[in-house]
């Protein structure tokens, strides 16, 4: 019995499973690449609708690449890159502010610079860097997701950090 070929995306439980598995990472991927969280969410939903409409033509194992390609193409035409706003863990910032009020100011300044630095990266660098740093994905996982080599992921990470240093260091 060939495993995955028997499953159809047209079965709603299968579709739901794919949704649970990929919707969040897809939304974040689009967000990291182009900014604009709300738009990333809409595009994610639309990509899943497209998947549902084409469910008879797409085998389950191709669902992931279909989703990422579709979402990416939708974005390419409509979105201009906006800043990725970093969300910081509230508990951690709080302890610092309590201890030292001046610290917060410096911290905020640095974070602004960091966000600008992220915005100045190329799409390819930014998606890889944020998938690794925020989404906590391993280089190998990112390579698989983007269909590039691990070496390419490492080069982009390296370049991204270097560029961010330039950008932050200058100010």
């Amino acid at each position: 019995m060939k495993a995955s070929q028997d499953i159809s995306i047209c079965v709603e439980a299968v579709f739901a499973k794919i949704y649970k598995q990929y919707s969040e990472v897809l939304r974040n991927f689009i967000y990291y690449k182009f900014g604009d969280l709300e738009n990333a969410e809409d595009i994610t939903q639309n990509a899943f609708i497209k998947l549902w409409e084409s469910c008879q033509k797409i085998p389950v194992e191709k669902a992931k690449s279909f989703l990422f390609t579709t979402a990416n193409n939708m974005t390419l035409n409509t979105l201009k890159h906006q800043k990725v706003v970093l969300k910081y863990a509230s508990t951690m910032t709080k302890t610092h502010t309590d201890e030292n009020p001046e610290y917060k100011l410096l911290e905020n300044e640095f974070r602004d610079k960091l966000e600008s630095a992220i915005a100045s990266l190329s799409e390819k660098q930014r998606e890889v860097f944020l998938l690794n740093r925020i989404e906590k994905m391993k280089y190998a996982e990112i390579a698989l997701l983007l269909n590039i080599s691990v070496k390419a992921v490492e080069k982009r990470m390296h370049a991204a950090l270097f560029l961010m240093r330039d950008k932050i260091g200058k100010v």
């Binding site: 649970k20 960091l114 992921v153 080069k155 950090l161």
Partner: protein
């Protein structure tokens, strides 16, 4: 010190350092102190960054509304104008016939039915159950609510959709008990794939699997070669008593009233499907309960 031109594009040592493959000391040998401190600060800052929040359940609910509006389609082979012409013809001749795309079979109390699909698959439907299947059986996809035994021919994928989960098979024999609260699959031959929420379970012959009221799924193996009810006996394995009583009701078209009885006690055993008195004794004796029959359709259960 600022590094003049960014870097050699083949370099990856910062990537290695971020993933911990290169130590701080090793990095300090490669970059200036100032740069090193900045890299560390960037890295540390990201440790405090959280993923943007995402509510999978809520978003999925939003999408399901839209899904049902846009049901799966095949690429049309017929040009669109054909539909317009056909629609005009229908209007012109006033032919309004309703074509049903699927057929449904339903069983009543104590009734079983045998359904033979064109492609050779046989379905035995137990009492108080409903099954629907496509009229044109190119898609082998049926929907079940209740209990059925399947003998599926080897002609590609066969899918059983139920309220709680989905079962996918090639050629095989298996039994499904599927209501809103109970989902049980027993495989007798071949290989069965059960999909329930996030869980995907492969059953081999003799494997049984079930989930009751959303609790942790249970697995066991059976010694039977076919479902008991096929041969005239309803069997249970550590089943909460309420489902046993409900099975009695469905088989004999009776109403069972049980007040001071613990309906979650577990019952293992069987009852015959052709004799109510014997059936009642088979259930009540091991559970140490008494029963009365004030009228033909009512059974009262009480403690001994």
């Amino acid at each position: 010190m600022k590094t003049e031109k960014i870097h050699n594009s083949q370099e990856t040592y910062l990537a290695k350092w971020l993933e911990g493959e290169l130590s701080d000391t090793e990095l300090q040998k490669l970059v200036s102190k100032e740069d090193f401190l900045l890299f560390v600060k960037i890295k540390d800052t990201f440790e405090k960054v959280e993923k943007p929040s995402f509510n999978t359940t809520k978003n999925y609910q939003k999408i399901t509304d839209r899904l049902h509006k846009s049901s799966p389609r095949v690429v049309p082979f017929i040009p669109n104008w054909v539909y317009s012409v056909a629609a005009m013809l229908v209007l012109a001749f006033g032919v309004f016939r309703f074509y049903k795309a699927s057929l449904a079979v339903e069983t009543s109390y104590g009734e079983t039915k045998e359904i033979a699909l064109n492609e050779g698959t046989k379905i035995y439907l137990n009492n108080k159950s409903t099954i629907s299947y496509p009229k044109y059986q190119s898609q082998r996809n049926v929907t079940l609510n209740g209990e059925a035994f399947f003998h599926v021919t080897k002609k590609g994928a066969f899918v059983v959709s139920t309220p709680l989960g989905v079962i996918q098979v090639l050629g095989t024999q298996f039994n499904v008990m599927a209501t809103d609260k109970l989902f049980e699959v027993i495989c007798y031959e071949g290989k069965v794939r059960v999909i329930y929420n996030d869980v995907e379970k492969i059953l081999l012959p003799s494997d049984a699997w079930r989930v009751i009221e959303g609790k942790t799924p249970q697995s066991w193996t059976t010694k039977e070669t076919t479902s008991g009810w096929i041969t005239g006996e309803t069997t249970f394995r550590t089943m909460p008593v309420k489902y046993v009583l409900s099975a009695l009701e469905k088989q004999y078209h009776i109403t069972i009233r049980a007040k001071a009885i613990d309906k979650n006690r577990l019952f293992t055993g069987s009852f015959p499907n052709d004799n109510l008195q014997k059936a009642l004794r088979s259930v009540c004796l091991p559970l140490q309960i008494d029963y009365d029959q004030p009228d033909t359709n009512t059974i009262l259960l009480h403690k001994k």
